[in-house]
Symmetry: D2
Subunit: 139 residues, 4 copies
């Protein structure tokens, strides 16, 4: 399977255009299903107990599905989230990276849908799951 | 209507325990419906065009519903989000604060539900709407 | 405020084109906010204890937001649901009609968003709340 | 992997207690991930064009995740849906059964979460995806 953008291209885009999260997120791999993105939390992402906050997990899911879509449709940065839902299921492990595994479900002409499972690095049970819809700008 | 915690008490809690957002969020008013919370965006919350990012709106909604619940049940900081959904409907105004109007729909023994509308300050059409469920810890 | 379709027009459309629910749903009123729809449950909509089932409440919310959108945009029956979420908050009253109060939040060129609160007739606390997105077909 | 209830036990429960859908739904298989449920649509489930309606797909998802949870926790019929979301992604095939593949994500003491993909029988791209939370009654 070939992709419009690979992990190197997505990481370069992240470094250039997402200065707020450029030291936090890494696109690990573009996969047949979607993409895998790592979050390396810093102080600002943590809650008491050194676990990652809920809004940080949401940001991870939102960015990861976005990168998964771009890996298929190419550089259309004006693709925007229209709807998102998230379930927090378990407390993340303390002082651990998070890994977000995205699965693309639809890449339409106008709308794209993907979901993801978020894991504490090294654990097998997901801490959260999210599903997002994006609006793709017309050509 | 009397509340377990008023705006002053919630703002004091915010200053003490939410250092990441203490200069960003202000509880404007505890209302009969829920609460109104203001977001004063800083550089890190903005996207190109000086509009507030999607994850920042999610964080605002999540915090605002949390404060609304605490205004009713008192200081139970271990109340945690279990489910959240958000729809992004319009682009926020550039360089404007956001106001999040929360409406509490249920305060149960175990679960609480609230929704909110987010407005650019001075505008009448909402930019986003969200709904959250929180799990309330046992006594 | 004038509407593209009023309650009489919507009820006539319901009678003609929605035979499955034509004896179950009544558009009570088109309002400035959206619409109010009544569900008169029959045996098939009830769970043990004579309360309305969850999927029936979902159907009510889905139809009610659809009628609210048509009241604004006119007879575009190919408008379809793309996303929906629902929270069940309280057990409905036994042997009572349900009333669904819809609030339209956005009528865009391509997407429309509305939410609703569902009440047991005569009660003041909502039994459920839902939010729906619809895709509007091009002209 | 052994289960608290297998497909035969769940189908027997369906026949006895879900008269509204007993000729419509079949638990095909309890799996390591969750369960697979078939919907055999009848006239009342169809929209013009002989495709299954949105609320029918919601009902399928809701029942299927419920059966998946019971396959793990045993006969606790008072387990109830608290939150659900669904995305409709493609038009179902005309005159085709639907298959709902459930994946359980969490079976907690109080809350259970599962998601599902719904396919037209014989097709490889999902027509819809849903995620549900259930409240498990105390012992």
């Amino acid at each position: 399977m070939t992709f419009a953008l690979d992990a190197d291209a997505l990481n370069a885009f992240l470094q250039d255009d997402f200065w707020q999260v450029k030291d936090t997120l890494i696109i690990e791999e573009v996969t047949d299903e979607g993409v895998i993105v790592r979050l390396k939390p810093t102080e600002e992402h943590l809650r008491p107990g050194a676990t990652v906050s809920g809004p940080t997990m949401f940001m991870l899911a939102d960015c990861a599905v976005y990168f998964a879509i771009l890996s298929r449709i190419g550089m259309k940065p004006l693709t925007v989230t229209t709807n998102a839902s998230i379930d927090y299921m378990r407390k993340p492990a303390a002082n651990a990276d998070l890994l977000c595994h995205v699965r693309l479900l639809k890449i339409g002409r106008v709308l794209a849908v993907g979901d993801c499972l978020i894991y504490s690095d090294g654990k097998s049970e997901p801490v959260a799951t999210a599903r997002m819809t994006y609006s793709i700008p017309p050509e």
